[in-house]
Symmetry: C3
Subunit: 268 residues, 3 copies
Amino acid sequence: MGTTTAVLARDCAEALQELRDRAPLVQCLTNIVVAQWTANVLLATGAAPAMVDNPEEAGAFAAIAGGVLINLGTPYAETAVAMERAVTSATRAGTPWVLDPVAAGALAWRTEIARKLLAESPTVLRGNASEVMAMTGGTGGKGVESVDSPEAALPAARELAGVHGTVVAVSGPVDHLTDGERVVRVGNGHVLLTRVTGVGCALGALMAAFAAVVDDPLVAAVSATATLTVCADSAAGQVRGPGSFAVALLDELALLTPQDLATRVLLS
Amino acid sequence: MGTTTAVLARDCAEALQELRDRAPLVQCLTNIVVAQWTANVLLATGAAPAMVDNPEEAGAFAAIAGGVLINLGTPYAETAVAMERAVTSATRAGTPWVLDPVAAGALAWRTEIARKLLAESPTVLRGNASEVMAMTGGTGGKGVESVDSPEAALPAARELAGVHGTVVAVSGPVDHLTDGERVVRVGNGHVLLTRVTGVGCALGALMAAFAAVVDDPLVAAVSATATLTVCADSAAGQVRGPGSFAVALLDELALLTPQDLATRVLLS
Amino acid sequence: MGTTTAVLARDCAEALQELRDRAPLVQCLTNIVVAQWTANVLLATGAAPAMVDNPEEAGAFAAIAGGVLINLGTPYAETAVAMERAVTSATRAGTPWVLDPVAAGALAWRTEIARKLLAESPTVLRGNASEVMAMTGGTGGKGVESVDSPEAALPAARELAGVHGTVVAVSGPVDHLTDGERVVRVGNGHVLLTRVTGVGCALGALMAAFAAVVDDPLVAAVSATATLTVCADSAAGQVRGPGSFAVALLDELALLTPQDLATRVLLS
């Protein structure tokens, strides 16, 4: 506890307070599996979700949203067009946006889409270790699950951060986040997070929410990670299995105070 | 309690009994965020959901369904075609149908779709205050959330009801419903309803279910609102946050008796 | 208990142990209503879901997946193409696959799709009685619900099994499963399973998961049915209604031991 980390516990607490005060509008272009869960995670935490993911509206909405999530969980030709338009519009309007290249490396078509979107310099790139490594040309994981550790992906994460001017967040037992220079680790991960679908996807959405209210994208990404994993820790202590865990996690997100977050987050 | 309202508590109780006895088949053309939740709300209450939303089948199915929901939460070009066909078929067959113009006013493309569908005279138009006001040409809310009160939307609701021969239901802390002449207020709203995604969407589906078994569309819309909000009140008293609230709300919908509903609904 | 059934309780226990040990990758081309629920059922039980359902990737992924689910709950033109490609690829690669013809018989377009897919000889065909009977040319049920009993569908199931070389699983109060010669009944069904959307859909996904780790498709289908219904029994004893039932069911799937499964499954 004696060393100073690049992002402080109190930065996370202040970011959460900002999110609660401003209830940022978060546009999600996400997958059919986790759309409801993602919206509920955003609502519970205090943000305002809007799943505007069609080509006709995605661009215009990205200009007025506080933050945008682009998640490649179940892409279709039409969604891919909507994503391009949302990113172009977000970039022009200065809206922060998060890229979550789900299963990149394991599947060729979406990997190509993910690389094109990454070239547009997202505010945050979020994935598991295999997905992040695939963004540098690696071959990726087994479907949607990582076969690599966050530690192993850190060099790739630093490289991508430097090349694209993005914060890279690698999820895992200990989350690793970097803007290319600073590195922050969040140590509150819990194994039950891997037994519920869409936790990583919801984390990407939370990063877009925090990026809407915090200037430093690394602080935003770390605060989102801290918020989700601290609440997961709380939830895990009360439950019998993954069903009740997911329910309790939503409750904890709504109950979490900035003070609790600052006290409990494990940063290094 | 001395005054008589246009819809009585015992009308709601009888409607719920009808719904339980007849288990109406409700076709939902709804959004990817709330499809599961909507189906579970219908099942818990006693209706039979069927999410038939492709252009090939939507028209034929609307002729045999008991009621149809058209919800514009995440419209795509293909869904919009399916919606047109379902509405044409429902109108021809005399199947009651509900229009829920999610985020109308805030997004241009869907607002146009919503206005075209409204011109087909839905049995019920359901939305928050901003959405309803947008249907008369207003500019609408912030994304999917209302920036206006139900009271403020009542003139617009009356106008739309008169022009289109539809019941208009405006959701909010106190729900306001009108068929252009009669006005009914349901006062059981709870703030937790705004912390779970898709409650309004599910309410639209319940209105289609009640309209399938009750002749007077105002009674159907009021009964659906009463059922959902009375159960929300019950659920809110037992829970820690929005996760457990959503779970308890489904339980309460299954447990609610017509007698309970009549006793607890706050009509004015 | 004195008679010997074609599949034994200890076969189910061994299959579950295999599933836990090998965490098979299950590709799901399923509907927008149950995608999240299906993924969570697979994760809770011990499998690894991947909802790869676009035409660009579905074929390639079916060659590397352990098992594939094709579910016709909400088909679209694009999904239908993806399904064809996944089935062609699965067949070529020897990947077991499950066909769930949701609402076949009640809706013409999907019935045609279902019959074409059935002609490709799925490893398992799973449906309710009306859906299975519709596959032989019957006219089917009321929307997604069965109007026939599993017993009544057994002749159709035997016929389909013989013609297509597939195991046919008919869900209902007592599940009936046959490979054309052997017939197995699983008697753990609970009425609450009909009050939560997507339980049958998730059962199809579990069958794909078990077929990925067990050579005999009848053992796989019976083990999946046993796992889900034994857990449903456990869950039903603890809950107030369908909301808490769905949550408890996920918990029970994660907690179930092979020993418990063997002790509690009712085979005949």
